[in-house]
């Protein structure tokens, strides 16, 4: 069976996780791979649990949902608690520093994603792009070039620079840690 990488981006509605998932899937396609992106959210416009899921593969993607993610991003405590046990044995959890980590038997990488967006970039709403930079730098699941192109394609016109800056801040956060 073909290699299949599952990624789950979780948090609350309004954090831009679905956009981050779209960018990740589009970057994988730009890299010449196959990818699907799906989402799950409640009936609320803001708040409430929200998640985006991405499957990247060299072959066909039949079942489009994520069951054993190799990467879990959790930007809220609720998301962390709900999904930490779903992570594959060799998977990683990327956790925002605002959330207290526990003894989950998985590699947990804790970084100040939301704080970096707020303080370094000056806009909390780009935490999704900071998180994306962290994921790309840590996992190399897509190339940086493809991610940059996908960001430019997908973010609202006029905000490309802001989003790219946030993405690079995320890359730096992860790089410093490694």
């Amino acid at each position: 069976m073909e290699e299949r990488t599952e990624i789950r981006l979780s948090g609350s509605g309004g954090q831009g996780l679905i956009l981050a998932g779209i960018v990740l899937a589009e970057a994988a396609i730009l890299d010449g791979k196959n990818a699907v992106q799906s989402q799950s959210y409640g009936p609320e416009a803001r708040g409430g649990a929200s998640r985006a899921e991405v499957v990247i593969s060299d072959g066909d993607i039949d079942y489009p949902k994520v069951t054993r993610p190799k990467v879990l991003l959790a930007l809220t405590e609720q998301a962390f608690n709900r999904f930490k046990d779903s992570v594959a044995d060799d998977g990683i959890i990327i956790l925002d520093s605002s959330i207290e980590k526990d003894d989950t038997p998985r590699e947990i990488i804790q970084l100040p994603i939301i704080e970096t967006a707020k303080n370094e970039i000056g806009k909390g709403m780009v935490a999704n792009m900071v998180a994306l930079g962290v994921i790309v730098e840590l996992t190399k699941v897509v190339t940086k070039q493809a991610a940059e192109k996908a960001i430019s394609n997908r973010v609202p016109k006029g905000t490309e620079d802001l989003n790219l800056k946030a993405f690079h801040a995320g890359c730096n956060l992860a790089e410093k840690r490694v």
Partner: protein, 382 residues
């Protein structure tokens, strides 16, 4: 030239397919999980000279679509469960008045407001019998984003060809999924337009006269100089109401005949590994993707299992079951509901096979593991 591969959402592929098929009118009332169809149509239709109208509700939307189609435009509306319920009365009007149109239902959990953001396949029977009275209808169901494009084009083509409403029955998974797709070159697409009356041969146009003997009356555009009458009452060939039994029987009979005489043109299904299969999974929409994965995994282990993936749901593709090889003993119908498609499957099989349902009604997609477990259970017991 076909476009380069790109990431596209199912709902977006629906609009792309509709415009490629010639849709130039959309009326709708937004509802999750179909809203992107309205949103994208509102952007794209004006750019090709089409019209987009957000109506006051779903009933009005369906009425506007019927009006636009009578005036000569290819027209579509999109909705989900609660809106689909509201559209039923006017869908019946379109069936009887033979107005070509496409109705998209991106299924969510029901009944009532149900689970607005989550997938289900609970509208299989409503798509067939949601409007009252004897009537034919065509219902197509895609499993992939690329297939949403193809089946939307096909929905318009069948609707135009047979003058019948055509329903594209999606589910939230396929509607919201973003997937790598490569759209075909528009020049390679077969596009069918409704038959028009040939006024050089017809001295007086009767809008419901079967001039060609194929059960499909040619259709003039309203407002282009040929006046005619359209009604939801049973009517004769002039389009005016009649209570005569012979007129009633002739009309209902013709409505059915024009579909059922052409059933091989309308039904569409795919067979995977059914040739030597002992157990065949029957599925449609997004659960069929899980079934394909399950078949691949089980085949690797030597389990003789296959899949029948239905792309036309109604009229029900009975032929697919007649064609199954003699090795087949068990059928598993995998659907995201309490058991709807299993009923026509049972009728089509007429006791020939052991039939089991794999039903999930918690508004989560059936997983490959669940399909595998069901196949193992059935093979062990049957």
């Amino acid at each position: 030239m076909s476009s380069s591969p790109r990431l596209m959402q199912g709902n977006e592929a629906c609009v792309e397919g509709a415009i490629a098929a010639g849709m130039r009118f959309y009326a709708g009332y937004p509802i999750t999980p179909s809203t992107e169809i309205a949103e994208i149509a509102s952007e794209k239709l004006p750019k090709v000279g089409g019209k987009f109208v957000q109506m006051e509700d779903e009933i009005g939307s369906m009425g506007a679509v019927i009006g636009a189609s009578l005036a000569g435009l290819k027209a579509m509306t999109a909705t989900s469960g609660p809106g689909f319920s509201l559209k039923q009365e006017n869908i019946g009007f379109a069936c009887l008045a033979e107005v070509p149109c496409v109705i998209v239902n991106v299924q969510r959990g029901g009944p009532s407001t149900g689970q607005p953001t989550l997938p289900a396949q609970g509208d299989v029977m409503q798509a067939r019998w949601g409007t009252h009275g004897d009537h034919p209808i065509i219902v197509l169901s895609p499993s992939y984003v690329g297939e949403v494009f193809d089946l939307t084009v096909r929905a318009f083509n069948l609707s135009e060809k047979y003058r019948v409403p055509c329903i594209l029955l999606m589910d939230e998974v396929v509607g919201h999924l973003r997937e790598k797709v490569q759209l075909p070159d528009p020049a390679t697409l077969e596009i069918i337009n409704r038959k028009k009356p040939d006024l050089s041969k017809i001295s007086h146009y009767n809008p419901y006269e079967d001039y060609d003997g194929d059960g499909i009356p040619p259709m003039a555009n309203f407002g282009e100089g040929i006046p005619f009458h359209v009604t939801g009452l049973i009517h004769d060939t002039t389009g005016f109401p009649s209570t005569k039994p012979e007129v009633t029987e002739a009309l209902i009979g013709r409505l059915m005949r024009k579909i059922y005489n052409n059933i091989d043109d309308i039904i569409d299904f795919e067979k995977y590994f059914t040739d030597d299969a002992e157990t065949v999974i029957v599925s449609f929409g997004s659960p069929a993707r899980s079934a394909i994965r399950a078949v691949k995994i089980l085949r690797n282990e030597g389990v003789k299992v296959g899949l029948l993936r239905l792309k036309t749901i109604w009229p029900f593709p009975r032929k697919a079951f007649r064609e199954l090889p003699s090795t087949v003993r068990n059928i598993i119908v995998a659907e995201m509901n309490y058991g709807q498609l299993i009923e026509p499957v049972e009728a089509a099989c007429a006791g020939k096979f052991n039939i089991f349902g794999l039903n999930k009604f918690n508004c989560e997609l059936i997983s490959p593991d669940e399909v595998i477990a069901k196949v193992r259970e059935v093979n062990k017991n049957a």
